[in-house]
Symmetry: C2
Subunit: 214 residues, 2 copies
């Protein structure tokens, strides 16, 4: 089973690495990092580069496609090589997936039309304008299309997918392997749980600037 994780300038690292840490350990998995050009791709913060081992044309028919999000998503909303690759890969994929604003790229490429999907909570209103239907869940499965909410939700998505692909027992072993028994020190992980003033600060961009996300 070939897993292709798309990289692009200013991707958010955890969007890609969270699911990678789970899915790359599935029995028989071959994981490739793919970008328009092979070589190091720099993330949104600017201090981390992951090496893309393949260019798009070298990965014509992966079994699973994963599109991370990040500020660089905004540069990938019009037709071009990435959309062409996504549409071609989607024709034969078993699973087409995204984390965070990666779903906006999938939707812009025409792959989520009429599908239930999610994205980062700050971007969720963009989904309907791209033809998708907002589903208010952390992990959304609509046929072979699986989308996760913001950044860290990719870990929950990957464990869910691992269960579908390889069974509950293996998925649980993977969870035990990464000791995923979360204990966030605050109750601030989403717009419904975080202090309302912080949610508003984030929506108003002040919080986004303060937390290095804008």
């Amino acid at each position: 089973m070939q897993l292709a994780i798309l990289l692009f300038d200013r991707f958010t690292t955890l969007d890609a690495v969270g699911p990678y840490e789970v899915l790359s350990r599935l029995p028989g998995a071959e994981t490739v990092f793919v970008a328009e050009q092979a070589g190091p791709v720099t993330n949104d913060v600017g201090s981390l580069s992951v090496v893309a081992t393949r260019s798009l044309d070298q990965v014509p028919s992966p079994d699973l496609v994963l599109v991370p999000g990040g500020p660089g998503q905004a540069e990938l909303m019009s037709d071009g090589p990435v959309h062409e690759w996504l549409r071609a890969a989607d024709r034969t994929s078993t699973w087409t997936t995204s984390v965070c604003t990666g779903s906006l790229i999938l939707a812009a490429a025409g792959l989520l039309t009429g599908r239930r999907a999610t994205t980062h909570w700050l971007a969720v209103d963009q989904l309907p304008t791209l033809g998708a239907v907002i589903a208010d869940q952390r992990v959304v499965i609509d046929g072979k299309y699986v989308t996760a909410a913001g950044v860290s939700a990719g870990i929950d998505m990957a464990l869910t997918l691992a269960g579908r692909i390889a069974g509950d027992e293996l998925a649980q072993l993977l969870q035990l392997g990464i000791e995923y028994d979360p204990e966030p020190p605050y109750r601030a992980g989403g717009p419904k749980t975080a202090p309302p003033a912080l949610v508003e600060a984030m929506r108003g961009n002040i919080g986004a600037v303060m937390s290095g996300r804008a």
Copy 2:
């Protein structure tokens, strides 16, 4: 504030990237990935490389040191350039931290003697043989030494640290930014919560092999 994240062959990616995703966004943070030699460093699965932007001698006095774990930890248990760098960096660091079996490296370098610490649940018995005291918590703070349990625990550690460094409000904004409102699909994240048969399979190495961790 300079954050130095150590890379080494066969590190576990999420150990490094989980905390990175939080700490690199702290106001004024400069994050560097450091290794014995600058350049791409390949992880434990073998399919992902992160670029080390600096060699050890280029980062003499970081404010925060973070040591990830992974199978490559076993090669870093005797004296050598990494231990020398860790001891030197620790002399002036504000925080010396680890995720997963990274704490075994810190302990082997002599930095956790008599200190309360944790590591991946499968490796916890090794801590006392290296002079540290086992603390059965997901994130352990003993003075400036902060250690996290396995892999995904680094995210909880980083949010805890962010609160200490920049205050609760900013830490909560960072949590909201990564939408860290976890919903694991199984209750299998630790030896106390996972089905006992799976914990035993993991301890007996069968489970570790099945889940790509051995």
